[in-house]
């Protein structure tokens, strides 16, 4: 590689050979031996991405695979007795919560997006706060508030001098009660998407309809609402998926749904196959909703192809209208956050000296460690998949990454089953092998370990992080990668030196979101946790199930406080975005 000394003098050869001596590490003769299959070849990244993705898709496949086995007695028994209940209750819950979130989410979104009234700027982000409260926590908080000995009924009795027989009080622990509870904490999904849609609606369209003589009501019904419809449907589908996935609230209220059925069949009747069959049926429901949501979103994009024009001035509400608007926005905030959080705070105040002891701290540190560990792991996997997809944008890799996202929207109970089934099978096989050849029992190697829990969290929450990573990576132009490569960085180094620093803030957001999701996760944790291993969520749930509501408040409040973090991040993103911003897309 030295310049041939016999060659005719080349004007630049002097400085050239000089420069080569400066950078000796890059000696071509050595490097040339390392082969690098071309950009479209088969390489380590492809193998790694496809391998990880297949692993993450395992639970969903395991559920479907098991469900395909012939139905046993339990399943036939289920079909004869409670299956109809499961389906009816789940569907009723789904429809009710969908409708409820629409009724709460759409008007508040429209008011904060289009109108001006006292407190509008404040409500814009405060309306997201109920997201911080997990459904099972709001459910038992209201139970405590509204039951016979609770403050509300006590107050009524004291005020009017009633006794038990004098009045009828609606029972919160019922299907309508569950619908209300779920709607109160899930409406922010609809609110977020609807608000983005209302903001995005081109002012020109509204002005045209105005010039055609349409009054405000007509405009709202004929133009604004239909244009926002895809966003509303998308938001409702998300909410309905969450409602189907809920375990804690419906279990606490004693309602038989798919998720409670899965638990009952798995633990009560000890029939994994039937549980998987239930889970598969539930997954079909969820995937239908997922398809509906995706289609609506595509339509939503189609609707907003028009140029963004300047925002029209907000509609200034006056007189009683403005107080009506303030009231409309205050109600969901009050019932969805202020009252339950206040009640939790009161209980915590009363019981903290008793509850907050060494065990509480140990449990909190468990939870924090588990949540931060899984969040980091999940973020790393998301980076691996997202970056691998960027390096090798081929159909196989993309399909694999989509497969890894199958756990999205799959209820935690279903994924837990999907993790248990293969892990138990592996344990049995290894144990059998060890007994036969080594004469000893290996027992449970995978099931009932922290590893199983981490794995379930990965399948469940990876899509959240992957979405952030993918969205961030698409904003980085491919020439950045190429530039770094020509400057001597290997693909791995490009990720560390270029992408991760550039994406720092959105990666932190993803980390925090996954952290909180893991912190409040209940059903998968209940199924998969190692013996005697407790988390904040599990302890709160256990205490509440034992009717020790006040004692559980400290645990619940810790979860709620942690959950406020992502809400604040979301709301900051919203206030940053001048026009339509869709933090969920």
């Amino acid at each position: 590689m030295e310049v041939d000394p016999s060659a005719p003098p080349c004007p630049y050869s002097q400085s050239f050979s000089q420069s080569k001596r400066d950078i000796e590490p890059l000696s071509l003769s050595r490097r040339a031996k390392s082969t690098w299959i071309g950009a479209r070849g088969f390489d380590r990244w492809t193998l790694l991405v496809v391998g990880v993705a297949l692993l993450l898709a395992l639970p969903v496949f395991a559920v479907f695979f098991t469900a395909l086995q012939p139905a046993g007695d339990v399943w036939r028994h289920l079909v004869d007795t409670v299956l109809a209940d499961y389906v009816l209750n789940s569907v009723a819950l789904m429809l009710g919560v969908g409708l409820g979130t629409l009724i709460i989410g759409a008007p508040t979104a429209w008011l904060t997006a289009i109108c001006e009234f006292p407190g509008r700027r404040w409500f814009e982000w405060a309306l997201l706060l109920p997201m911080a409260i997990p459904a099972y926590i709001i459910a038992y908080t209201y139970t405590g508030l509204l039951d016979f000995a609770g403050p509300v009924q006590t107050l009524l009795r004291e005020t009017f001098g009633w006794s038990r027989q004098d009045y009828a009080f609606p029972e919160i622990r019922s299907l309508p009660g569950a619908v209300l509870m779920l709607a109160l904490v899930l409406y922010p999904y609809v609110y977020l998407l609807a608000r983005a849609a209302f903001l995005e609606q081109s002012a020109a369209v509204l002005e045209v309809s105005r010039s055609l003589g349409a009054g405000p009501w007509r405009r709202f019904l004929a133009v604004t609402l239909p244009l926002a419809r895809p966003a509303l449907i998308a938001g409702m589908s998300l909410v309905q998926m969450e409602a189907l996935a809920d375990y804690g609230a419906v279990q606490y209220f004693g309602i038989s749904t798919f998720t409670t059925g899965i638990f009952r069949v798995w633990f009560g009747m000890n029939d994994p196959t039937a549980a998987a069959q239930l889970a598969a049926l539930l997954l079909l429901f969820v995937f239908t909703l997922l398809v509906l949501e995706r289609l609506s979103r595509r339509q939503a994009r189609f609707h907003h192809t028009g140029q963004r024009t300047q925002r029209p001035l907000r509609l200034q509400l006056t007189g009683r209208w403005q107080w009506l608007a303030t009231g409309t926005c205050l109600l969901p905030l009050l019932f969805g956050f202020l009252i339950p959080a206040g009640q939790l705070a009161v209980w915590t105040w009363r019981t903290a000296p008793k509850v907050i002891d060494d065990r509480f701290l140990e449990l909190t540190s468990h939870s924090l460690l588990l949540a931060s560990g899984s969040a980091l792991l999940i973020l790393l996997l998301a980076l691996l998949l997202g970056y691998g997809q960027r390096l090798q944008p081929r159909p196989m890799v993309q399909l694999a990454v989509r497969g890894a996202g199958l756990g999205y929207a799959a209820p935690g109970a279903v994924l837990a089953i999907g993790v248990m089934l293969p892990f138990a099978a592996i344990d049995r096989t290894v144990d059998g092998w060890a007994r036969e050849w080594l004469g000893l029992s290996t027992g449970l190697l995978l099931s009932g370990t922290l590893f199983a829990m981490l794995f379930a969290y990965c399948t469940q929450f990876l899509p959240v992080a992957l979405h952030s990573v993918e969205a961030g990576l698409t904003r980085i132009r491919p020439s950045m990668d190429d530039a770094a490569r020509t400057l001597g960085a290997k693909p791995r180094q490009v990720l560390w030196r270029v992408h991760i620093p550039i994406l720092r803030s959105s990666l932190l957001t993803a980390l925090l979101m996954v952290f909180v999701d893991v912190l409040k996760e209940l059903p998968a944790t209940l199924i998969l946790r190692p013996f005697n291993f407790n988390t904040l969520a599990v302890r709160a749930y256990e205490l509440a199930s034992d009717e020790r509501l006040a004692d559980s408040a400290s645990f619940a409040l810790a979860i709620v406080l942690a959950g406020i973090g992502p809400v604040i991040l979301l709301s900051r993103a919203i206030s940053r975005a001048r026009s339509g911003y869709d933090p969920l897309s």
Partner: protein
């Protein structure tokens, strides 16, 4: 002597589409070359193949005699010591100007690294912007940072993917000239991709004209203009028209504008149809000439007019005339031909069949 950069019979494809076909070229002793062509001709793909981003279907790439690419084997871009300047510059937004420049200097001793960064900052006159971030400096300054960053690890060859195209025309040629000077001073070879022939003329010693993946000619700017190897190069470089003619018994080409003497294409015999390249400066406006043509269009260029003329047969001709010769549309004006090098192609031959 070993050629500096040698591309030998390259095919590059985005399967199933072939983007580069049978391209061979040689750049001698850290010279400066340019790949010129209309958009979509494959010039960027060729550059990316040299940088190591695209695998080869056929052929080989050698730099100073060392093979960098062959089918089934591509030395990774990070091991080639080939620098690249990108069309969108691709400066790292999270790093300061000096950190951007130092990006490729990983593994250098801290003192050497600092010295090299300072040297480059001086070279591109950006000393006082060292601590700024890319979004805090102007477009022209960003170009300089990109250049300094690419040159910092002392690459043997610098590839430039239309890095000046975002600048306005006057600045573009200035910067092209400046980059050329810097490359010569650093002793780094350069290969520019461009669709702008004036940029190419300013920048490069040798220019390759690419068309739908074929390299039509690899030559100096002067030769591309005056001795185009084929009709594509003739029509792509400079302005001009191809005037129809027929080889007469005397070996001259008979055209509407009289007999033209010149070297006829290989294998041409009397009676063959040919085309002669006529540049606007080959057509002299001469009121005394018996040859007349009608003014069909005119474009005022300041010092001169560029007239588009209709010949009686309907053929068109371009003519540069000093701008005091102000003729109205439709007017008949006298012209004569004054061609230095006659360039003649056989007519109705597909461009692919002409010598490459």
């Amino acid at each position: 002597m070993t050629p500096f950069l040698e591309l030998c019979d390259l095919d590059v494809a985005y399967p199933p589409r072939k983007v580069i076909r049978e391209v061979s070229l040689t750049l001698h002793c850290a010279g400066i070359g340019c790949l010129l062509g209309p958009s979509g001709c494959g010039k960027t793909t060729l550059l990316r193949a040299i940088a190591g981003f695209e695998p080869l279907q056929r052929g080989s790439i050698r730099l100073e005699g060392i093979e960098l690419s062959r089918p089934g084997w591509t030395l990774p871009p990070e091991q080639r010591r080939i620098g690249m300047m990108f069309q969108d510059l691709a400066l790292f937004p999270h790093l300061t100007v000096s950190d951007n420049i130092a990006f490729g200097l990983r593994g250098w001793k801290a003192t050497e690294r600092r010295a090299r960064v300072d040297e480059l900052l001086r070279l591109v006159s950006l000393e006082e912007f060292a601590k700024r971030h890319p979004h805090q400096i102007s477009g022209g300054q960003q170009q300089r940072v990109a250049l300094a960053r690419a040159l910092a690890p002392r690459p043997r060859l610098l590839l430039l993917d239309e890095p000046f195209s975002s600048l306005d025309v006057s600045l573009r040629e200035d910067l092209a000239r400046e980059v050329r000077t810097i490359l010569l001073r650093e002793g780094t070879g350069g290969l520019l991709v461009s669709h702008d022939q004036f940029e190419a003329f300013t920048f490069a010693d040798e220019i390759g004209v690419l068309d739908t993946g074929w390299l039509r000619q690899w030559d100096s700017a002067y030769n591309l203009y005056h001795q185009p190897a084929n009709r594509f190069v003739a029509s792509f470089i400079g302005q001009g028209v191809l005037l129809a003619g027929r080889i007469g018994e005397n070996g001259q080409a008979n055209t509407e504008l009289g007999d033209i003497e010149g070297e006829s294409p290989a294998g041409c015999v009397a009676g063959d149809d040919v085309e002669i390249l006529v540049r606007p400066d080959d057509v002299i406006h001469d009121d005394a000439s018996p040859l007349k043509a009608e003014v069909a269009e005119r474009a005022f260029r300041g010092a001169e007019f560029l007239y588009t003329l209709n010949l009686p047969s309907g053929a068109r001709l371009l003519c540069l005339a000093p701008s005091h010769h102000n003729h109205a549309l439709g007017q008949q004006i006298g012209i004569r031909l004054d061609i230095d090098h006659v360039v003649m192609f056989r007519r109705n031959w597909s461009v692919n069949c002409v010598e490459r």
